[in-house]
C-alpha cells in the first residue's frame, strides 16, 4: 500500500473514443452483476408460467361447466394468461435499472463514464429490452409447454403451424419488453423506486379497474386502450364474441402499447438530457 505504485500501464496509451458499443458492454455488465436482476427475472418466469399452468389446470377441470361462449374465448392468450402478472415484474426491473442508480449515486458515476446522455439512455434501453425479450421468449414457450396440453385435450387448436398462434406467443416477449421500457421511463422521470413502482402498478392494475366501470362508448374505448388491456389484446387469436368486453385487435393493442411507451419514454429522454444528474 505505498503511494509510489500509482504509475501504471497506459498513461501514454492512445486515447480512444468512447463508443456506443462500450456503453452497451458496461450496461450489460451492470445488469449481470446485480443479484436483484436474477431474482426479478426468476420471479417473472415462475409467476407467469406458474399462473398460466394454474389457470389451465382449473379451466380444464371445469371444462364441462363452461358455456359455449366461454369455451370460444379459450385460445393462445389463455395459454400465456400468467403474463398478466409477469408484466408488472419486468416493469419493476425496468424501474430498478434506473432508480437504484439514482438511489445510490451510481448514476453520476455512469455519467462520468458516458457523459453523452443519449448514449447512456439508449444503452440502458437496449440492454433491458434484450434481456426482457429473451426472458419473454422463455416464458412464452415454457407456458406453452406446460399449459397447452390442458386445452388441446378439449379440442382447442393451439397448433404452432397456425401463424396466428405463433404470433400470439411472440407477442409475449414484445409486450414484456414494452412494459419494461415503460418502467425504465418511469425510473428516469421519478428517480425514486417506490414512486415509480406505485405509478406502474396504478397504470396497470388500478386504472383498468376504473375504466372497466366507466359507462358509455367513451368508457369502453378508454378501457380498451389502457396498457394492460392493450397488451392482452396482442395475444388474442379468437374472434370477438358477442357480449364480452370489447378489446382492440392484436395489432391495435400493439400500436396502443407503443404509444403508451412513447408517451413515457420521450419525456423521460428529454428530461434525462436536460436535468441535473
Amino acid at each position: 500500500m505505498t503511494a509510489t505504485t500509482t504509475r501504471s500501464f497506459h498513461m501514454d496509451a492512445p486515447i480512444r473514443r468512447i463508443t456506443f458499443r462500450e456503453a452497451l458492454d458496461s450496461e450489460f455488465a451492470k445488469i449481470r452483476s446485480v443479484r436483484s436482476t436474477y431474482w426479478t427475472l426468476l420471479i417473472c418466469v415462475v409467476l407467469s408460467v406458474g399462473i398460466s399452468l394454474l389457470i389451465a389446470a382449473v379451466t380444464s377441470a371445469n371444462w364441462d361447466t363452461l358455456s359455449a361462449t366461454n369455451r370460444a374465448t379459450v385460445d393462445m392468450s389463455s395459454v400465456v394468461a400468467g403474463v398478466y402478472f409477469g408484466v408488472l415484474v419486468v416493469g419493476v426491473l425496468g424501474v430498478l435499472v434506473v432508480s437504484t442508480e439514482y438511489g445510490t449515486g451510481m448514476m453520476r458515476t455512469s455519467l462520468t463514464a458516458f457523459p453523452r446522455r443519449s448514449v447512456l439512455f439508449l444503452a440502458k434501453a437496449v440492454v433491458l429490452t434484450l434481456v426482457v425479450l429473451v426472458t419473454g421468449i422463455i416464458i412464452a414457450f415454457a407456458s406453452y409447454g406446460v399449459a397447452s396440453p390442458f386445452y388441446t385435450k378439449h379440442g382447442v387448436d393451439l397448433s404452432l403451424s397456425h401463424g396466428a398462434n405463433v404470433r400470439a406467443l411472440l407477442a409475449v416477449p414484445v409486450y414484456l419488453a414494452l412494459v419494461a421500457l415503460m418502467g425504465l421511463a418511469l425510473g428516469f422521470l421519478l428517480r425514486h423506486t417506490a414512486a415509480a413502482i406505485s405509478t406502474l402498478v396504478g397504470l396497470f392494475f388500478v386504472v383498468p379497474i376504473i375504466t372497466n366501470f366507466l359507462p358509455g362508448t367513451l368508457g369502453k374505448d378508454l378501457n380498451k386502450i389502457v396498457p394492460s388491456n392493450a397488451g392482452s389484446a396482442m395475444m388474442v387469436t379468437h374472434a370477438a364474441t358477442p357480449g364480452s368486453t370489447p378489446t382492440l385487435s392484436p395489432i391495435g393493442g400493439f400500436v396502443a402499447l407503443l404509444i403508451w411507451t412513447a408517451l413515457l419514454i420521450v419525456p423521460a429522454f428529454w428530461f434525462f438530457r436536460h436535468r441535473d444528474a
Binding site: 500509482t6 496509451a13 468512447i18 458496461s26 452483476s33 449515486g105 463514464a113
Partner: protein
C-alpha cells in the same frame, strides 16, 4: 488543466456558485476550500458535466467534459455520495467501470491493492464502513490512470492513518505531473497537503494563491513572549513596527508582525531577558474562518431574540 470561467449555478433562489473563475494547474495539488454549503461539490459537478451551469463554463484542457474522448482515462473523480450499488462486490463495481474504459482486469486488482481493499474485494459493498467506501471511491477514480483527479472530500471518514495515506498518495500523483483538485473544509489539512489554494464562500471566490502566500498573508505570525522587562521589549518592538498586545495570561505579551527568531535576536541585541518565546499555531485555521465567516451558509450569528428578530413572524 481545469478552467472555470465566470461560472454560475442557481437552484431556485439559491445561488450555489456565483461568478466563479479560476484555473487548476497540472503538477500540483490544488486545495478547494470552503465552509459547508460554499458550493464546492456543486462546482465539481459542474466541471464533470453532471449539472448544467446557469451561465459560464467549465473546461478541461479546453473542452467541456462531455466532449472529452475517453473521459474516465482523462479525468478520475470521487464524488460526495458513495456511488456504488450495495449489492455488487467491490471487485465487480470496479470491473464494470473498467469495462467502460477498455482497462484490463488486472488494473482492478492493482487499484484494490493500492487502496488496501484486496482483502474485501469479493465482499458486497453494502457492509463497507465509511472509510472503506471512501477507499473504494478513490480506487475507482484511479482506475483509468487519469491525468486529472477531482476528489470531493477524499479524507472524509478516514482514520488518521488513512488521512496520511491519502496525503502521500496525492503528493505522489501530483509529482507525476497530474492535475489534482481536492476539496476540503479543513484548512489545516489543506495547509499540509496542497500546493495551491482556492477558497470560496457562498459560491464566491475568496482567495486563489499558493499555500505559502496564503499562510503569510492570512495568518498573523503571532508569538507569545514572557519577559520581566515588558516595557523595554514593547519599545524595541515598536521601533521595528511590530505590534505588541497584552494577554490575560499574567504578564505574557503577544507580538505580531515578526517571527520568534527575529524577536529572540532583538532581545539579545538589547540585552533583554526572555522567559518564554512561543510561536502561536492556531492562527491559520482562524484566519480561514475569518475569511469565510461572513460568507458561510451556516455562519454562526448571535441567536435571535424570542419573537422572530429576523423579521419573520
Amino acid at each position: 488543466m481545469i478552467e472555470v470561467r465566470d461560472l454560475v449555478k442557481r437552484y431556485g433562489d439559491t445561488t450555489a456558485v456565483d461568478h466563479l473563475s479560476f484555473a487548476v494547474e497540472p503538477g500540483r495539488i490544488t486545495g478547494f476550500l470552503g465552509p459547508n454549503g460554499a458550493g464546492k461539490s456543486t462546482t465539481m459537478r459542474l466541471i464533470l458535466g453532471l449539472d448544467r451551469p446557469s451561465s459560464g463554463s467549465a473546461l478541461i484542457d479546453g473542452l467541456p467534459y462531455r466532449d472529452l474522448r475517453d473521459p474516465l482515462r482523462y479525468v478520475g473523480a470521487l464524488l460526495e455520495a458513495r456511488a456504488v450499488h450495495g449489492g455488487r462486490s467491490a471487485f465487480n463495481h470496479l470491473l464494470y467501470l473498467a469495462q467502460t474504459q477498455g482497462v484490463p482486469k488486472r488494473r482492478v486488482s492493482e487499484v484494490l491493492e493500492l487502496v488496501g481493499l484486496s482483502g474485501v474485494a469479493k465482499k458486497r459493498t453494502k457492509g463497507f464502513s465509511l472509510g472503506m467506501g471512501q477507499r473504494l471511491g478513490i480506487a475507482a477514480a484511479l482506475l483509468g490512470d487519469p491525468k486529472i483527479l477531482i476528489l470531493d472530500e477524499p479524507v472524509n471518514g478516514l482514520d488518521p492513518e488513512g488521512v496520511l495515506w491519502v496525503r502521500q498518495l496525492l503528493k505522489a500523483l501530483a509529482g507525476e505531473g497530474r492535475t489534482i483538485f481536492v476539496s476540503s473544509h479543513l484548512m489545516n489539512e489543506m495547509a499540509v497537503t496542497a500546493d495551491h489554494l482556492i477558497v470560496i464562500g457562498r459560491g464566491k471566490l475568496q482567495a486563489d494563491m499558493p499555500v505559502g502566500q496564503f499562510i503569510a498573508q492570512f495568518s498573523d505570525t503571532a508569538v507569545l513572549v514572557r519577559t520581566p522587562e515588558a516595557e523595554a521589549l514593547r519599545a524595541a518592538a515598536g521601533e521595528r513596527g511590530w505590534t505588541v498586545a497584552d494577554t490575560d495570561l499574567d504578564g505574557a505579551l503577544i507580538v505580531t508582525g515578526s517571527t520568534a527568531p527575529e524577536i529572540g535576536e532583538l532581545a539579545a541585541a538589547r540585552g533583554l531577558v526572555l522567559h518564554e518565546l512561543t510561536p502561536q499555531r492556531a492562527s491559520l485555521e482562524e484566519a480561514y474562518m475569518e475569511l469565510t465567516r461572513e460568507t458561510g451558509e451556516f455562519a454562526h450569528r448571535p441567536a435571535p431574540a424570542w419573537g422572530g428578530a429576523d423579521g419573520r413572524a
